[in-house]
Subunit: 257 residues, 2 copies
Amino acid sequence: MSGTNPRREAVLGGPAIILIEPQLGENIGTCARAMLNCGLTDLRLVRPRDGWPNGSATASASGADLVLDNAKLFDTTEEAIADLAHVFATTARNRGMIKRIMTPKEAAVEMRAQSVAGLTTGILFGPERTGLFNDDLALADTSLTVPLNPAFSSLNLAQAVLLIGYEWYQTADATPGRYLHTGATRPATKDELVNLFGHLEAELEQCGFFSSPEKKPSMIRAIRNCFQRMDLTEQEVRTFHGIVSGLVGRRKPTPKE
Amino acid sequence: MSGTNPRREAVLGGPAIILIEPQLGENIGTCARAMLNCGLTDLRLVRPRDGWPNGSATASASGADLVLDNAKLFDTTEEAIADLAHVFATTARNRGMIKRIMTPKEAAVEMRAQSVAGLTTGILFGPERTGLFNDDLALADTSLTVPLNPAFSSLNLAQAVLLIGYEWYQTADATPGRYLHTGATRPATKDELVNLFGHLEAELEQCGFFSSPEKKPSMIRAIRNCFQRMDLTEQEVRTFHGIVSGLVGRRKPTPKE
């Protein structure tokens, strides 16, 4: 879902994703895909179990090759984080460490603030089976915990990368929360809408729909409110003129045409 | 990452996830897992290609069996959505339809509002290869589009379910954005902290660290500010008393002990 929009530029850069001793190439590939979904391109691998490059990573990256091609390889976590200003660690359990914990949403705001200040941040992910080593955790400023169903909260590597990357992406995204896609047409003007009301109500009057005169005003208001909620376009107003005329059974030109 | 927290109850229920003609059992399984991660349990399948139940769905659900066991099977989308009050559709392209479009974040607020009002909502997902059919799209109130890297925004089924479910879960989650995990100990009181300042500064005075008397007050403030940012616990204050004493080279009891 949510396909390619060629009108907008790709948004790239952002925090480094650092995978410590990833076991499966497939997981490195799906992480790369999730990264690119979120405009993240700085992938760092510390001692990947099956070496690097890895064919199954490419096979599962669904075309996120630019992330894999630019991946950097390190022997130690210390080297992988050397240039970073702030390091986040993803952990399943806190293991008794005394550490700041953030949600991905809060952390994303912090990462964006650092990015705006010209600083690079990174997020550590441990091996699939064990999660991060305690010594790697102690190299991080802050732990990240994703609020999820406490009875079933385990995520695979790519899902964790996706949720954290998603929050990063949202901090700089300007998509309106809701809008009406009107395509080639435009929202109807109020004049066009009121004209439709007039057409409909005249025909309803004509066919005896308003059985009681005293209820007529409130029925009209109720019907008008239904149409208000439709957010009709100019073209759709024409369609409804045609519907009314069609139902009346005599093809007459719509008003103003 | 983000492990099981036995102290909190599972949060279940929420909007229905409706998969129209899903092709791969594996994808149904990974969707079930993503659903349960987000406390969603109402899975509805319309004409799954390989029939139902499906062994590969179970194999890839990583234990989200309760979702698969309760999945409902339908012949038509109309039947699958019959009891719902509001239907969202996930689509790659808008295909010229005139329709309200929301982000998952905005839609989650709407779903939560409907849920609080006792109404059930649902989200349609089309077949992996083609996405939703136009006629199914026309059965939905609202389209959903996930803001992601426009140059690489395609998500697999489970990733799309996870992002939408994640936003649903966040609308009722009370996890603080950031907090300090202090485990069995507690944050230090200001009295304990000021006492540590006194110990450290007395020793620094003693060893001649403050070379210029006029700079001493600002140096003390700078050092105190470093310690302020540590958010030390009571236990860690003791540790720093020990560090100072250790560096001074004579084991003397820390003040107030």
